[in-house]
Amino acid sequence: MQAFIHYVQSYLTSDKTPGAAGNMFWAFVYILLIFTGLSIAVIAMNWLERKILAHMQVRLGPMRVGPHGLLQPIADAIKLLLKEDIMPAEADGLVFWMAPLIVVLAAFTVFIVVPFGPTHAVTDMNIGVLFMLGVSSLSVLGVVMAGWASNSHYPLIGALRSSAQMVSYEVAMGLAVVSVILMTSLNATGTGTLSMIGIVQAQQSQGIWFIFKFFPLGLIAFFIFAVAMVAETNRAPFDLPEAESELTAGFHTEYSGFRWSLFFLAEYSAMIAVSSIAVTLWLGGWLRPFSSLLSGSTWDLVFSLFPGITFLFLAAMCFYSTARMPKHPYFRIQTIGLAGFGIVLGLIGLVLFVTPVRDRVQDIYWFSLKVAGFMYLYIWYRGTFPRYRFDQLMKVGWKVLLPMSLGVLILTAGAGMWFSVGK
């Protein structure tokens, strides 16, 4: 027992990730935390997407289940779990059964290397970026399997579209990533890194986020990645595989209930995964904004207060809405519930002001905030853009993004050479 406690405690002083330090216990804890956090994030995303989209479209969105529809995702989850699990008679049972599992597995496995902070990752692989791109592209396998196993025309077309789309956008995506890896090699030793943590540390030591590096080269590479990642996750305006107006629901037309919810879960966690790649590679990962412009211990302190302030702000919004709730007795439970939710958020906010918590949490906070920004973009795209046609999608992927990313890659290499020779 003593040995175990010692084993657990030994990691606390480490400055490595649990995986890198070889501590299985903490790695397991981290996996559980990330899994929980991700599930909560997907639930929150579900609610936020419906609400934000609704407000963009001059309507209210969910308002009935819980105050301001806060319990809607839970109600949806219960509904999906209770639904009859239908498998078409003509379907290939085993493949049909495995497809959602593969998609979910791919979407979740990626998070092993996502660095929420210098030590806040399950492990730090030296091929982190490759691992992420490789594993996340495995989900196309699940999609093709789902479309094939359904043994029906619409899912088949959806799956064909999806695989073609994912494969072609991966090329431009990969090339955009390579230009970042070139940037990481601009140090004394001249060696770059594929490690996710290493990439953020390179941005830290160079004192600039890679989106601003060799302006506008970094920005263009980021733009290419940002477009490709929307296509990669099959979201609007590239949501052809599940084009509702053409193919009803694309590759998961025949899926219902729990299996369908697995696809849903995978889609949203894949969105979070690619967004976290983008954040890590271009937006400085866990680094706080303006770290070189507003440096010094005072600014550090000010920025470390942000997590607490955010939660207090959310709590204040809850209290504001509580005050605005109708006074009718029918709304009494909802009003109490909303106030309770506000109190919970406020307490979390207060806890986040405590010094030791504050120091440990701010990395995660900045990382999550940047990812949340991407999530908002996803919703915004969905509310704004019409859908591309299949051939146009291919045209954008191969004729626009691919040459652009090749050009950016060459120019980045040239710029890197130029500046390192200048030194």
């Binding site: 479209q57 001059v58 025309h153 084009a243 509702e244 193919l247 019409p386 046609r389 299949f390």
Partner: protein
């Protein structure tokens, strides 16, 4: 059979859509059934698509899922009793249907509605044209994947429906007009409401255009899609904005003026290419022309009676009459044969949607699956009218 499908010269030949002899994967050919339960077929239209990958080799429309025998019902009702039935054909433009029917019976009877009634008719009909176009715009954009315009157009369409509701108590199937004029005088504040609506909706149309007209993806999805030439349009009997977008300046409001339209000053917007984008532009321009007409009608509304002298029991003389109006979707014609009794001997409706739908096959050959959805949207069909 295969030759027939791809041969461009026989683009108007009837389709042979039997089940392929071989299984689809071997034949490199996919027959897909779209509808009658499908989110993008605007009701219960069934389209059988013959695909080569994503490319459409041919299609066939199957209609009749919403057939209610409206024409036959007309032969068993008196002229007055049949009036509300016409609202149920093109239910998004019920007022236009009513106008067409009332004017046809009036022509048969040889009476004409008084000027004030005609002005109110024009205002309501043009409002309905806008409501119909708003519904078209919302659903068309939704089919192409832009989900937001739908809610904007429905928000503004609501204002039109409120005016209808205040005028006659109904929002959708209005039964606004009577044979010989109107039953209801314009309510107090009708003119104010209409004027307020005109000034309210003008900037909203710019808002719709801002979302779509110069949107890159919208341009790519609509330009050069579903092209139909003016000649083909005339050959197929296609009318309305679809015909005008192909460069044919034909609008019954100008060509055969009815209901006082000759007193109003408005333009007929036309397109050149006959593609989906031109049809979009034409309809957007029609919004503005409708606003112009409404503005003029409200400003110049005469005083006077709203009902002509029509006998209590309508017994038109023996004879037949055809009268057509420019409904939001095209030429809406009524052909009535009277045998001198209180009921028509034969009632025939020429609905624009039904005729325009014929062009779907011509417009979709060689296009992608996604274009079929866009073309169905741009044809602006209402299945209630296609099937009657």
């Amino acid at each position: 059979m295969h030759q027939n499908m791809t041969d461009q010269n026989t683009s108007l030949s009837p389709l042979d859509l039997e089940t392929p002899e071989k299984p689809f994967l071997d034949a490199n050919e996919l027959v897909i059934n779209m509808g009658p339960q499908h989110p993008a077929t605007h009701g219960v239209l069934r389209v059988i698509l013959r695909l080569d990958g994503e490319r459409v080799m041919g299609l066939e429309c199957v209609i009749g899922y919403l057939h209610r025998g409206v024409e036959k019902i007309g032969e068993h009702r008196t002229y007055t009793m049949f009036n509300p039935y016409v609202d149920r054909m093109d239910y998004v433009a019920a007022v236009s249907n009513g106008l067409g029917y009332c004017e046809t019976v009036e022509k048969l009877l040889g009476v004409e509605a008084p000027p004030r009634a005609q002005y109110i008719r024009v205002i309501l009909t043009e409002l309905n044209r806008m409501a119909s176009h708003q519904l078209w715009l919302g659903t068309h954009a939704l089919d192409i994947g832009a989900i937001t315009p739908l809610f904007y157009t429905f928000r503004d369409r609501e204002e039109i429906l409120k005016i209808f509701e205040k005028y006659c108590g109904a929002r959708l199937t209005t039964h606004a007009f009577r044979i010989g004029g109107l039953q209801y005088e314009a309510y107090d504040g009708f003119e104010k409401d209409v004027k307020k609506f005109v000034s309210f909706v003008a900037p909203k149309i710019d808002e719709y255009e801002e979302l779509l007209t110069t949107n890159r993806i919208w341009l790519e999805r609509t330009k050069g899609v579903g092209i139909i030439s003016g000649k083909d349009c005339i050959a197929l009997g296609v009318t309305g904005p679809v015909l005008r977008a192909s460069g044919v300046k034909w609008d019954l409001r100008k060509a055969q003026p009815y209901a006082n339209y000759k007193n109003f000053d408005f333009d007929i917007p036309i397109g050149q290419n006959g593609d989906t984008y031109d049809r979009y532009i034409v309809r957007m321009a029609e919004f503005r022309q409708s606003l112009r007409i409404i503005q003029q009608a409200v400003d110049g509304m005469p005083e006077g009676p709203i009902m002509a002298k029509v006998p209590k029991v309508i017994k038109p003389p023996v004879g037949e009459v055809y009268h057509s109006i420019e409904a939001p979707k095209g030429e809406l014609g009524y052909f009535i044969v009277s045998d001198g009794s209180t009921q028509p001997y034969r009632m025939r409706v020429r609905p624009p949607s039904f005729v325009n739908l014929q062009a779907l096959d011509v417009m979709c050959r060689g296009a992608m699956v996604a274009d079929v959805v866009a073309v169905i949207g741009t044809l602006d069909i209402v299945l209630g009218e296609v099937d009657r």
